[in-house]
Symmetry: D2
Subunit: 255 residues, 4 copies
């Protein structure tokens, strides 16, 4: 396998996990260890990174050992997102970031016009920008042309656990992309992650699927294996499906 490289950094694990909805930072850290992930994404608006009078993530997960990927969850305009990431860079020196510009709280889909605009602003400003986006192949291409270092299409609404809804779009994005494609949002169970990787994705990001499992640490371990399984399966090249239709019957091609 070729290494998984984003913005010049190379990782062994193709799984990225989050920091929301865990019972505690301690549980989050335990899940991280079980998952084997080397990148953890941190919602700048929700995670305590600086107030040492309160529990802090960094007391449990060491940013020298794990790549922190700040994200702009909760931002609904490009300006908000850009401001949030600039503050984070000043405070923590983070340059590799994940951009999210959301639209309607009902489904938390990305606002793609704003997302593209903010991507351009951040790249001008020197950031390496991984971008949460819709699964529209046309916009994925625009983000790459604008300089995004990773394309992160949603598989289904954030927090829905519905699995990849549109494998055709994910595949079209992968076929056209020269930067890593990481499915972000929608994974609900291990097989969803395996399916994402079998489509040829470079990685998978998930939060709720682990944090809201009955046993989050065990599910984190499941996801570690699921991502490896999907990657290896993709590289191995699956057998052809056989249809058992009599080619001379009107049923041929029906199924």
């Amino acid at each position: 396998d070729r290494p998984f490289t984003v913005a010049g950094r190379t990782f062994n694990s193709r799984l990225i996990i989050g920091t929301g909805k865990y019972k505690s930072y301690a549980q989050n850290a335990e899940a991280l260890a079980a998952s084997g992930a080397e990148i953890i994404t941190v919602a700048l608006r929700r995670v305590n990174l600086s107030d040492s009078s309160q529990p802090m993530l960094v007391d449990h997960i060491d940013p020298k050992k794990v790549t922190f990927l700040p994200n702009t969850a909760g931002c609904f305009t490009g300006e908000d997102a850009v401001r949030t990431l600039r503050l984070a860079r000043e405070a923590g020196g983070w340059n590799l970031v994940k951009l999210e510009v959301l639209s309607d709280p009902k489904h938390l889909y990305p606002e793609m016009e704003e997302t593209l605009r903010a991507t351009k602003l951040l790249i001008e400003d020197g950031f390496d920008v991984m971008v949460y986006c819709s699964d529209d192949p046309v916009y994925a291409r625009k983000l790459e042309d604008a300089g995004a270092c990773a394309i992160m299409p949603l598989g289904a609404p954030i927090g829905s656990g519905l699995g990849i809804q549109n494998p055709v779009n994910i595949r079209l994005i992968i076929e056209a992309a020269k930067v890593p494609v990481i499915v972000d949002a929608g994974v609900g169970t291990a097989s969803d992650a395996t399916i994402a990787m079998e489509l040829g994705c470079d990685g998978v990001l998930m939060n709720t699927a682990i944090a809201e499992a009955k046993d989050p640490v065990r599910m984190a371990r499941a996801m570690k294996h699921a991502v490896i399984a999907g990657r290896e399966s993709y590289l191995a090249g699956r057998m052809a499906k056989k249809r058992y239709a009599d080619p001379s019957s009107p049923l041929a091609g029906l199924i």
Copy 2:
């Protein structure tokens, strides 16, 4: 996790692989090692177990280290199957066996009346019988009542790689069974195995999915992780799916 136990024998791996369609016994052995499987099923009618003037499976895979599971692939009557297994027991001492009694070569589905009859004959004769069967929950119950030590419903036609066609039936079989349930036939890719395990199966048996992958050894490794991922995911308990339907709209419950 509770151990995976069949007929009193306990295994760490929940994956069973086959011995058909490999380029050579050497490749088969390499795939076995990559898969982590501890049981290998051997078609008594196709695999050379005794003619030392020809390449022999046992020169590559050591029956002292790996459990050989003789099967009756290619048998179309109960008598055939019973005779084949008796000869094998006399020759090799194998008592734990996998019964297959096939019907039409077009789809290789089991002949369930003959299968049940042969199961009873073999059990009377002292065998521990794992049984390849349709996914009919009624017949699965009959096989268990007759004394089968494992129920092995097909997920899809042998060699089709179509994945599990009827998860409802597999689930009904699992809910009712007190002996292990092992999906046998139909797996085509890693996510199919993960899905089978997420349904609560105790194990998965596959042959073509590994042997006919472009890189069989790599696919064997994928399957090792896929089975672990599915088992851990099942035990961890997945998050609830969220539907995003407005409960007051006529769409609620549609999807």
Copy 3:
């Protein structure tokens, strides 16, 4: 289109509806009219056919205009089923019947050994027997060999509304059958019926999908169109699916 003929009787409509779970016989009759069905199946153990002190089905639906198809719903042994149908023949002269021999009340799947046995008894006794059965192509063949005049595999558990779970099996049954194949059980909504017919079924039988819709009469009308749509679509021969995979990429054939 060739006519839809069962046991020598020819029908214009390929939809068969039931008599259970309606609010009243009047509503049942209205749904029948909206559905365009010419056959209605009648559970001999549940429908009042003879006690004129109570509401009677025949006061609302005229057996001279609509073919009554007596069925053995609620019978759990072959003897029960045979006795029930003999009584019905003596009382009403019905010779064309639908056999159901059920197993576990949890899923109401047919008991196939008993079903096959009862089929043979009824045929010896001069009945024309349409048979509710599992979707096992091997048993479908046995029923046809025994003289069944229609094969009626389930699409999903009775009353589940889950739609056809295993199109591969339904297709295998259709390809092998010389008598009509009618999907019986599992349809939940109009598109399920269309899909059944697109597979090449000769007809569809449903009860709950209509009777438990919010507006049963309207759903009956939907089903009329759904069955015609599926039949015409099957006969018209659908366009080929296009996959958009770059044939030179490792994704080809993945989706």
Copy 4:
């Protein structure tokens, strides 16, 4: 049912068909009659509307009886599309139009930034604009806010026949829209149309599914019934699905 009204015009049929890929205008006219459609969409760049030395569509389909809906298929910029529709209005007086601004010829997905821009230009210019768009609910809302008189999300790539890939997105668009939502592109067979309508769409537009069926006229008739079936089924309100999971088992909610 409430009437199907677009830009103040009311129609009985909720099916819109196209004018591409037919063997002849005569066959197109025959398919139109069989389909019951009252709107036919006409690719201004491909269909001969004015050169009377060649076969003309209007010799076969009377624009006084059928609503012609000019579309901009083949336009890859907003300017192209706007210019094309202005010329058409001058020539034929058409004010109700369907806008398509495409991106990559590989998948023919809409270019949504250009599409939104062109929508605004056309509305300023007095057109009633129905808009072919991606299934992104955020963009669907923008188009409606800009004044589009119908939102026409794709179900799958044009000409693919893959059926609706993302019912979640189509449903989110429908729940939020106050103008008609018409699935445009992706239907391959009758059940695909039924499914689209069961989601609550106001209508379906298709071309290849009819024109490339083996028997286009018969498939047109199938589609007429499929759309009615789906609409009636949606209005009738389907039965609840039943899952048969033992609620006390770890399988509950898995399927």
